[in-house]
Amino acid sequence: MKFTQRYLGVATIVTLVATIVLGLWVTPPATQAQGGDLARLLYIHPAIAWVALYVSFGTTTVASALYLWRRTRSMVMDRIAYCAMEVSVVYIILTLITGSIWGRPTWGVWWAWDARLTSTAILLVLALGYLALRRANDDPEIRARRSAVFGILIALNVPVIHYSVLWWKTLHQGPTLLTPGQIAVHGSMLWTMLLSFFAFTFQFFWLLRARYRVEEQATQARGIEQADAIAARQREGA
């Protein structure tokens, strides 16, 4: 396991450094119509959004569904879903911040109540609600069941965010890479953008692994504390 974590760490650092170098210095600035130097934000913002919406919520949804399914029910699934949601919150916040930094010079405002931005902000509130829900009950099984159901319900917002730019008139541009029938980004810009998707995906799983290990440690510590408390009570009674 340590072996996997080490290689995941190396892959993360190498691809992230390559993304920064290629994104800031190697790729040419885009044309003025495409945003000039601002287009360099395309090497981070879509990749972070990809991790926030699809990779981390996908992980939470699959782990939650596996927890709810009797045959695969285990606290491991519950912990994975919880840790993925926590990491997801970080990426959703970064998605909103980098989107806002892009929006100010492009649209003239830091924030607009546009369908894509608003639905992403709602996702952040729901994800924070999930983390709050986990603190609402100390019984691990009740907590895991409620969290799994809520985690799956929150994920229903993800397709709404994805299609928001197509369903409603929004300030946010349409899909950059997935424009039906054509690829809107070319050459070194396209390769750098694709690399950034790998880099942030590696980073997500690296952070998830590390966060999972800490959660596992905390669970073991709580178990030892409970066993100590029970033993102390038994000694008092004897």
Binding site: L16, L24, D37, I44, V90, L94, T98, I101, A210, A218
Partner: protein, 31 residues
């Protein structure tokens, strides 16, 4: 270019800060 630098700084600073928090929690858990 200032907006670009700000975007990269928030992204890499933010994830580095979160990684540091995880590392610190892990360290505290071991003691």
């Amino acid at each position: 270019m200032n907006y670009v630098i700000a975007g990269y700084a928030f992204t890499f600073g933010g994830t580095a800060l979160y990684a540091a928090v995880i590392w610190w929690q892990g360290r505290r858990g071991r003691h």
